[in-house]
Symmetry: C2
Subunit: 385 residues, 2 copies
C-alpha cells in the first residue's frame, strides 16, 4: 500500500510550484539560490559560512550629486555562522531568504507581518524562537533586500496599501485593464507591488502627474475633474507616500516621460515628503535607485503664498519648537544646502513663524486650489526644484 | 458705465449655482433653509432665537433591542442666541449650516478640515475667531447633522478615504461604471460619500460580503481570487472602517440583500470593530440608522482557534492590562451581555491569556485562511452573531 503523502512540516518548504513564473521571478529565484549556493560552496571547502551584507548605517549613505539621489556606499558587514554574536542573525537571514523563495515559487505575496508569522517558530530541541517579535524580522528583510540587490516587492513582500490614482492613463494590473479615467469618485487603489510583472502601461494621454499629499485634497481635484481639464494623472499617498506609490510615480516618470509636480503643505513635514519622493530616504537608501525621482518639482504651498494669495491671518498655524528644529535640519540636507531657492523658502517660513496647509486655500474659495493656485503655478512654471 | 461686479467677501456666499442638484440635495437644502426660516420667524415674532439640538451625551444613547442597534433618545439641548454662554455656539451652528448650504448649492464637497478653513475668520470689528481650532468645529458639524437629521455625507462633508473593494458587483460612481470584478491587485478605493446620488448599484451576482479588517489580509484574499471562487464581494476598512465603508456595507446588505461576514482579529479591538459595524458606535449613535448592520456575522478569529486550528504557541500574543480591561468592558455591552456565545468567546480569550491575529494563520500555510479557514466556517455556517 502506498504511503500517504505527508504535508511537509516546515512552512517554508512549499509543494512543487504549479505557477508560471515571470522573468523577474526567475531572476529573483536565481539570486536567492546563489545565496544558498555560496553557503554550500563554503561548507564543501570547509570554510566557515558567512554573508557579506551592505551596511545600512548612516556612515555608509551618501548623496550622489551626479545621479541626484541618496545611495549606499560600498561598506559591508560580515555575518558569520560560527560567531556566537552573529549566529542567530545569520540563521534569520537564511530563514527570510528561504521564506521569500517559497513565496516566489508559489506565485504568492505577503506583508512583513505575514513573513514574520510564516517564519516564526520555536527552534527544535530548544526554547529559542526564530524571531521574538516583528522588530527582529524587519531589519533582516532589509538585509536580504540589500544583500541580493533586490527590491522587497521582487521578493513578493508587500507594504502598506494607501494612495489612489485617477487620470488619463490605462494600464493592465494582474490581467485586468484599469482605465484611470473611469474611476468615479473613489479612484483606483495604488497597489503595493507595481513592478512590471504586475502592472504594464497600455496607454497614456496625460502630459504630467500632479501628486498631492492627502486624500482630502485629492478629492477636491478629482471632484473638479482637474485631471481631465489639464490632461494629467492625479495621485496621493495618504501623507508620506508608501513604497507602492513612490515606485509607481518613479515608473510613470521614467517610462512614460511625465514630469511630476508635488502639491504639499508648507511645513517641515511637507518638505520632508518632497525630499523622500525626490532624493530617496536615508533609512532605505538602497532603494533610491528605483524609487527616487530627482526630476520631481515642488509646486507649493510656498512660504510666500500667505502674501501672494492674500490669505487671512486666521488660517496660519504657528510653528512649534519641533517644527523649527526639523526645518533647520532639512535646510542642511546636502541636496537642499546648495539650493538658494530652497534656503530662501525655509528661511521665510522660519521668519514667518507659521506654516500653511494646502486646505487653507479653501478660505479663498472651495475650488481656488484647483482653478487658480495650481493652474497659475503651472502656467508660470513656478516651481521649487 | 456699469459697475464691475465684485466677488462677495464671505466665502460662504456662493455665486448663483449652475449645477444640477439631486433629489437628495434638494431635500438637504430644504432642511437647511427651514433651520434659517425658524430663526427669521422667531425674530419677526420678537422671540429670542434658539435652536433645539438633540443631546449627544451618553445619557441620551440607548440600545434599541427591537431594531438591534444603538440609537439616540429624545433629549434635547436648547441653544440660545441671547445667552452669553451659548451665543458663540449658536452662531457657529448657523455658520456651519450656511457653509453646508454653500457646498450643496455648488455641487461640491469637502473634508471637516476644509469646512473649518472655509468658515474660519476673524469676526469683523473684533479679535474673536469664528473657530480657534479644528476641535471647535467638529462637534458643531455633528450638531448640525443631528439637528437636521441628516448624515454628514448629505451635507457634502466627507471623512477619511480608506478601504477597498473587489468582487462580483458593478455600480455607477459619479457617472463611471465600476466593475469590481476587474480591479486588478489594487481594487477600487471606497469613497467617503456613497449615498445613492453618488453610487448606484447596477449588477450584483455575489452571494455574500466578506469584510476583513486589514488591507494586508484583503490582499491575500484578492491574490487567491477568493471572491471569484466563492462568488462574493471582498472589502476591508483599514482597521476600524471609516464612515464610507460602513455606509457602503449597510447599503449592500439592505439593498442587495447580501449577508455580511466579518473576519477580524481575536482581540478586544477586533471585537470592538465588529460591535461598531453591527450596532453602531456610542459616540455617533444618531447615524446608526443608516450605518449599523445588525445582521452582520463574526466569522473569526475565535479564541478556540488556537486549539481548533492547531496553531503553534509561537504565534500567540499575550494580553496586556489594557486588553483585559477592554475585553471586560465589551463583554458588558448591552448587545453582548445577553449573548452566551459572545460571553464564552470573551471568557475563553481571558482564560487563554492571549490574542491572535488573522495573519497568524499564515503559520499553517500562506493560503490557509483563504483555502481552509474561511471556507470551513462558511460551509458549517459557524459564526458568532
Amino acid at each position: 500500500m502506498a504511503k500517504k503523502a505527508r504535508r511537509p512540516a516546515a512552512p517554508v518548504t512549499p509543494a512543487a510550484p504549479a505557477v508560471e513564473l515571470s522573468e523577474a521571478d526567475h531572476r529573483t529565484l536565481g539570486t536567492l539560490r546563489s545565496l544558498a549556493d555560496r553557503v554550500v560552496e563554503g561548507a564543501v571547502a570547509s570554510r566557515p559560512p558567512h554573508l557579506d551584507i551592505p551596511s545600512r548605517s548612516l556612515g555608509n549613505v551618501r548623496f550622489n550629486k551626479a545621479k541626484r539621489f541618496i545611495e549606499m556606499g560600498s561598506g559591508k558587514n560580515r555575518r558569520e555562522l560560527f560567531n556566537l554574536a552573529q549566529a542567530k542573525a545569520y540563521m534569520q537571514t537564511m530563514l527570510v531568504a528561504s521564506g521569500c523563495k517559497a513565496l516566489v515559487e508559489q506565485g504568492k505575496s505577503t506583508s512583513i507581518r505575514g513573513m514574520y508569522y510564516l517564519l516564526k517558530h520555536t527552534i527544535a530541541g530548544t526554547k529559542e524562537e526564530t524571531f521574538d517579535e516583528q522588530a527582529d524580522c524587519d531589519p533582516i528583510i532589509e538585509d536580504v533586500e540589500v544583500a541580493l540587490n533586490t527590491l522587497r516587492e521582487e521578493l513578493h513582500i508587500y507594504a502598506q496599501n494607501k494612495g489612489s490614482i485617477v487620470g488619463n492613463l490605462v494600464f493592465r494590473d494582474s490581467g485586468d485593464e484599469i482605465d484611470c479615467s473611469r474611476m468615479g469618485s473613489g479612484g483606483y487603489t495604488i497597489p503595493s507591488i507595481v513592478e512590471p510583472n504586475v502592472i504594464q502601461f497600455l496607454k497614456c494621454d496625460a502630459k504630467f502627474i500632479l501628486h498631492v499629499e492627502k486624500d482630502t485634497v485629492w478629492r477636491r481635484f478629482n471632484e473638479d475633474k482637474f485631471w481631465r481639464k489639464h490632461n494629467c494623472i492625479l495621485t496621493h499617498g495618504g501623507g508620506q507616500p508608501p513604497r507602492g506609490v513612490r515606485r509607481l510615480l518613479n515608473r510613470m516618470h521614467h517610462e512614460l516621460k511625465l514630469p511630476i509636480y508635488c502639491l504639499l503643505d508648507n511645513d517641515p513635514w511637507g518638505y520632508y515628503i518632497y525630499s523622500v519622493i525626490k532624493q530617496g530616504s536615508i533609512n532605505l537608501a538602497y532603494e533610491s535607485r528605483r524609487m527616487a525621482i530627482p526630476g520631481a518639482k515642488f509646486v507649493g504651498l510656498r512660504s510666500r503664498d500667505f502674501e501672494r494669495c492674500e490669505l487671512s491671518p486666521s488660517v496660519i498655524i504657528r510653528l512649534n519648537d519641533q517644527d523649527i528644529k526639523r526645518a533647520k535640519q532639512i535646510a542642511q540636507y546636502p541636496w537642499f544646502v546648495d539650493k538658494k531657492p530652497w534656503q530662501k523658502e525655509i528661511e521665510l517660513m522660519l521668519r514667518n513663524g507659521f506654516k500653511l496647509e494646502v486646505e487653507s486655500l479653501i478660505s479663498k474659495d472651495i475650488s481656488y486650489v484647483t482653478e487658480t493656485y495650481v493652474p497659475e503655478r503651472l502656467a508660470e512654471q513656478d516651481f521649487l526644484d
